[in-house]
């Protein structure tokens, strides 16, 4: 009996920034993931930023983060011998995950139809920007463009400035993680009847899903949500979500209705430090529900509350605010930087961050985020370092496919690997 969840399964990974996370998740769950790279290296090796801003095949932070734990083989898909190697690997694999432009692999004899015949068990997952059949199926789909196409961008930013994307592109991560779920669903279908299938992931749709159901606002409320800085809608009102504090920002959900106890506790704390208006101490916060705001009441109170809260927050640091919020069970959290997160006591207590030796790091080791889930019987595979380009050529091509060392040398010489 295996001690990891998906032990014994093998996936071929032919993705780029639009899906490397899929193979990472499958690998964390125990699948052997073989990253097939062009001889010049996977595109993910060239994604900036780089470690210490020095480009190099093993220095892309994106590559380090999302290709770690995979095996690397090289194969030139523009030469018949390279294509043949991938075909032979895919004949033995349980999953093939790819994010090439629609049609690219078909043209090289590596499309799904090819494998429906050769390996009917194969789950063949295509991660696409806009789906495989719509008018934009062949559009060039870079991350920020998908972030815009899926509607997220229109909801982030200030009204008088351009719509925003996050500093770390997110659409490809959503698509990659969604592809892991979809591939595992197809794996379950295969368990029933032994047959694989094609799976298509749509990154644009993955972004739409992050909008918290705003899509229905125009039809149901007759208004079109747009970016409005730090305001968000809650219970029929618009509330301020982010406040300045002594050393940065905090986020606070100051809403009533079903959350009345937490706002009351917050007002109590403000009062202790002399920042609450009298009416706030006696206010029935339960009333602060949708009907109240929709009938026009509450807006002035909300404005006054936010002003008091802002003055109050400025007197304390985000650390102090968070510590007290934890104690009083308030809906306040720091706007954390990665430095704050690295020092977080809860993550430390749970031993979340894990050291992984790797001579490519300035300190001889990387520190990775740990398991995304804690399973009592079959834990997530601990983080491993990212592979060097073609590191596993011999192991995979000779060990798995049974090639003679001489044949391997010939493939190198031909530029097939």
């Amino acid at each position: 009996m295996g001690c990891s969840l998906l032990e014994g399964l093998c996936a071929l990974d032919l993705t780029d920034e639009m899906g490397a996370l899929c193979g990472k998740i499958l690998s964390d769950l125990g699948t052997e993931v073989i990253r097939v790279e062009p001889p010049a290296g996977a595109p993910t090796r060239r994604i900036p930023p780089f470690l210490e801003d020095e480009p190099g095949p093993d220095r892309s932070l994106y590559f380090i983060a999302y290709e770690a734990g995979k095996k690397s083989v090289t194969a030139n898909l523009n030469c018949p011998d390279g294509v043949d190697l991938v075909r032979r690997l895919a004949e033995r694999a349980d999953f093939l995950i790819e994010s090439y432009p629609v049609g690219y692999l078909e043209e090289r004899g590596l499309g799904y139809q090819e494998f429906a015949r050769r390996n009917p068990r194969l789950v063949y997952t295509s991660i696409t920007g806009f789906g495989d059949i719509g008018p934009a199926a062949r559009y060039k789909a870079r991350d920020i463009v998908l972030w815009a196409a899926g509607g997220a961008m229109s909801l982030i930013g200030e009204a008088d400035k351009p719509p925003l994307a996050l500093s770390l592109p997110q659409a490809g991560l959503h698509a990659g993680a969604e592809a892991a779920v979809a591939s595992l669903l197809a794996h379950h279908a295969r368990a029933r009847d032994g047959l694989g299938q094609r799976v298509v992931v749509n990154a644009q749709a993955c972004v739409v899903w992050t909008l918290m159901n705003e899509q229905a606002m125009p039809m149901m409320h007759g208004n079109e949500p747009i970016r409005q800085g730090v305001l968000f809608r809650a219970l029929g009102s618009e509330r301020k979500l982010v406040f300045r504090c002594a050393d940065g920002h905090v986020s606070a959900l100051l809403i009533g209705g079903p959350l009345a106890p937490t706002i009351r506790a917050f007002v109590q704390w403000m009062a202790e430090r002399g920042f609450a208006a009298d009416w706030m101490l006696t206010k029935r916060w339960e009333d602060w529900g949708p009907a109240y705001f929709m009938s026009g009441k509450g807006w002035e109170e909300a404005r006054e509350l936010d002003e008091c809260a802002q003055r109050f927050f400025l007197t304390l640091t985000k650390r102090e605010l968070y510590a007290e919020a934890l104690k009083r069970r308030l809906l306040i959290a720091p706007v954390s930087t990665v430095a704050d997160i690295a020092a977080d006591e809860q993550l430390k207590a749970r031993g979340f961050f894990v050291e992984v030796p790797d001579e490519n790091s300035p300190q001889g080791r990387f520190i990775f985020p740990g398991p995304f889930a804690r399973l009592s019987l079959t834990p997530i595979v601990p983080p491993r370092r990212p592979p060097r380009l073609g590191e596993h050529n011999r192991e995979v091509y000779c060990g798995l496919l049974g090639l003679e060392p001489a044949a391997l040398s010939r493939l190198y010489a031909q530029g097939a690997i």
């Binding site: 351009p162 934890l326 809860q346 804690r374």
Partner: protein
């Protein structure tokens, strides 16, 4: 039906709000029978949140709730009553998977912790998800995805420059974590199928969400660099951002685009009519080091274009571009339609309502939105009488004691 992937899998779902219900939705839409246990006294807060049918609030009128609870059954049970626990335990015997998303002490308080469930169903898979995980000093911290998105670093990297915070919309981590939770759950179900073993899964939403920031965290630990808000700046693409096109019907239109190399840049200039631009921006290096000048140049070029025409022309020339779509645009998007993304389901109280469909397609065994979300307690009878076999008399008695409704 008959060909759904997870047919025969039984899920007892005590979860609420975002992460739990979105996770079990994956199972429900793929054929698992999911019974959501809800409380009359403390309804799911999403039931109290807009958008509402006709903008009128009501416990069964929230599309926010409906969207995340398709294909599920709903029952009402007051778990603070001892007899409710007996009913819950009988449902645990029926279930393969139990999911909950309370703060860690709640299930324990009801005598429904994993150790309890295991007694009656040794091979049960139980998944618990709360903001910060079941253990550690902050395990009991309550909250929502908005706060988690701030705590886990997403807010800080969303803004125009240092000191500006423009958060990603809504409870962002609620749309990150379920993809990890569902992956773990599906793998655990597969393991159980092969070995007969269930297990307990603890998903800290904090920990799962951080995987979407992994490069920045690894960078910080290795070199102390703190990733900040960059506006729409990129180290990889220039131009990279959203640029205002001509207004249409009094509405702003913006185009998003990203240029990866000099060839694409030349194509962009040719398409948008900027061929005579100065040579200061000809190379990637020049453009990456002068982002303001790049933005000014592109802004001037697209300002009089109709957005859709600019997108079409740029894509035809090999430049990645698309409209910055609003919620209204999304419903008219031909690609989302071609993917069969939108579904109108006839909800018991709301009538035909717009649901987001699936973000992927299994070509041979596709999932589907099998039914709209349940109204509060919609399947009480079906579950208590049909599944558990309570008699008329028992039902009446339980209702009288306000255990069921």
């Amino acid at each position: 039906m008959g060909n759904l992937t997870l047919e025969g899998v039984h899920v007892l779902d005590f979860s609420w709000v975002g992460v739990g219900p979105v996770t079990t939705k994956y199972l429900a839409d793929n054929g698992a029978e999911v019974i959501r246990v809800e409380s009359q006294a403390r309804p799911d807060v999403l039931r109290l949140a807009p958008p509402w049918k006709d903008a009128v609030p009501g416990i069964n009128r929230s599309q926010f709730f409906a969207s995340y609870n398709t294909s599920k059954k709903g029952i009402l049970l007051d778990l603070s009553k001892p007899r409710a626990r007996e009913i819950a335990i009988r449902l645990v015997e029926w279930a393969d998977v139990v999911v909950e998303s309370f703060t860690p002490k709640v299930m324990k308080g009801w005598g429904l912790a994993y150790e309890d469930l295991r007694q009656v169903k040794p091979d049960i898979i139980m998944l618990s998800t709360c903001l910060q995980g079941q253990t550690g000093p902050n395990a009991l911290y309550p909250g929502f995805g908005q706060l988690m998105a701030a705590l886990s670093g997403f807010y800080y990297i969303s803004g125009y420059s240092e000191g500006s915070v423009c958060p990603p919309y809504g409870a962002y981590s609620d749309f990150v974590v379920p993809r990890f939770a569902a992956s773990a759950l599906l793998a655990a179900l597969d393991y159980r199928r092969r070995t007969g073993n269930g297990q307990y899964i603890d998903i800290s939403q904090f920990e799962a969400a951080l995987h979407f920031l992994a490069p920045a965290l690894i960078d910080y630990f290795a070199t102390n660099r703190v990733l900040g808000p960059l506006g729409n700046r990129s180290d990889q693409y220039a131009p990279h951002g959203a640029y205002r096109c001509a207004d249409e019907s009094g509405r702003e239109r913006w185009i998003a685009l990203a240029v990866a190399n000099d060839q694409e840049w030349q194509a962009l200039l040719e398409v948008l009519g900027g061929k005579s631009q100065d040579s200061r921006l000809a190379t990637m290096q020049q453009r990456l080091s002068q982002p303001e000048l790049v933005d000014q140049t592109v802004s001037a070029l697209v300002r009089n274009w109709r957005c859709a025409q600019a997108v079409e022309a740029l894509q035809a020339a090999g430049v990645s571009a698309y409209a910055v779509q609003t919620c209204i645009d999304l419903h008219a998007d031909p690609n989302l339609s071609a993917f069969d993304f939108w579904h109108w389901l006839d909800h018991k109280e709301m009538g035909p309502s717009p649901y987001e469909g699936l973000q992927h397609r299994l070509c041979r065994t596709p999932g589907e939105l099998r039914s709209p979300a349940p109204v509060l307690g919609e399947h009480n009878d079906e579950v208590f009488r049909g599944l558990l076999g309570f008699s008329e008399q028992e039902m009446a008695e339980l209702r009288r004691e306000r255990v069921i409704f």
